[in-house]
Structure formats: C-alpha cells, structure tokens
Subunit: 122 residues, 2 copies
Amino acid sequence: MKKGKKDKEGECEVLCINERKVASARKAMKSDATLFKLAEVFKVLGDPTRMKIVSALLQEELCVCDLTALIGASQSAVSHQLRVLRNMGLVKYRKDGRIAYYSLDDDHISSILTAGLKHVEE
Amino acid sequence: MKKGKKDKEGECEVLCINERKVASARKAMKSDATLFKLAEVFKVLGDPTRMKIVSALLQEELCVCDLTALIGASQSAVSHQLRVLRNMGLVKYRKDGRIAYYSLDDDHISSILTAGLKHVEE
DNA sequence: CCAATATATGAATATTTGATCATATATTAG
DNA sequence: CTAATATATGATCAAATATTCATATATTGG
C-alpha cells in the first residue's frame, strides 16, 4: 500500500526526525544557492583532464599547445575544458599573437588543491 | 588533407611546444595517479545533494532521517549518495539500533570547503 | 512472533558530460 | 593575398551518473 506519493519532498515517510537538530543544522548551513555554486566549482575540478590543466598552471602560465603536449589529450579536448574552466572563473588567458597563454584566475585555487591533497595523501 | 591521424596522443599537429616549459611543468606536477584521486574527491563534492549532506555534517552528526528532512531529497537518494561519500572516505557512520548516524570522516574536508567558499564568495 | 520503522540497494531511466570529428576563426610568414 | 599555424567551437555519440521505484534487510516495540 504505497504511502500517498509524497506530498512534495518525501517528508511523509520519515518519522524519526530530530526537529531541533535539523533546525539547528539548517540555520548553520550556507544558503542553497551558495552550496550549489560551491558544488559547481568542485565539479569543475572533478575531472582528470581539467585537474591536470589546473595543476599544470599552478607552476606558470602555459599555452594551449604546451598544455596539450603536457597532459596527453587532444587539442580540441583541452580547448573545450579550458572553456569550462574559464566559465567557472578558474582560469584566464592573454593572447599573444595567435598563441593563448592560460593561467589561474584565482589565488584560492592553490589552497583548494592543497586542502584536497591532504585528504588524498594521508 | 588530414594529418595522418595522430600516431598516438595528438602530438603531430602541435608545433608550438615550448619543450623547456613543458618539461619543467611536468616535473613539478603531482603524479597522474595522485591527480586522478584528487579529481575523484572533488567530483564527489561536485554534486548539490552530496554537497548539502557534507555541509550539514560540518555542524554535527546526523541520521539519514534528519539529512533527508534537511536537504529535501528522498530517503533513497540520500542513502545512495551517502554510500558514494562513504566509499570516498568522506563520511563515516555509527549504528545506534536501527538509526545510522553519519559524520565527516576527515578533518580536511572542512578546509576544502572553506577554501572553495573563498572562491565562491569573493 | 508480528508490524512498523530506518536504512540500504538493485534495476531502470533520464540527464549530463567528455571526447572526437569536422570545421571555423584568427594571426602570421612569405 | 595565400598557406600554415594556433585556437575555438558546434554536432554527435558513448559513457557516466543521479534519481526514482520497488524491495530487501535489520531492529524495535508490543
């Protein structure tokens, strides 16, 4: 006997809720919008190709060409992923003639990676 | 006249490589395996539902039930995502009777989120 | 034991996404 | 101008993934 199909958000099957803890947690949490953006940033860093790109750019600016050689992906793939990184504000570039030099656009990126590495390398 | 279909990794179309910079960057970079794991961690954090779960657990441990109420997803969805977080070593849980209390499994997670927030909230 | 509750999980599905291919744009050399 | 080079991008497609549904497992109260 199916339980009435959830009025809205699946709240009618759940009875063990500690209202106090939930309210307290909800209050302490960042807004949904902020958490969504945060997840977006991590999603962008959550792909091996993009991670390699970002990691390479930690050292110095590089052109698409160098990145392509460095990470072993096609020029098209690198270009597509650079756009994703650009759209998320993680990298920027300058054009010198027909060469595009990419670099990190945000000082925080290095700290994000460092924090992540502590989990990975523990 | 197509250029011979890439011998292996798309290196034959690319002529502007700065060998010195590439070698230097390659040397400074973490290993592919490390970067892959790092990307995996970020990918796990890169989903709104999981981000909400992790964010809620920053405050205190919560049961599946509370998480379900808190983040507005179905119990099944929360459970599935908790497994992903568990497999990645980001959360742990203790069982008290039929209730499972989840908490963060790693001190670094909070610093990862904090670093990410600095980018989002700038 | 039995019914109810809390959580977990397999299967199916719809969506997202990353790579490739083909091609477009832009810049420079000659 | 023309050919070549560096990069960008649209379309397509296969793989990955998040959710839902149905159901299984486990624990507790009565």
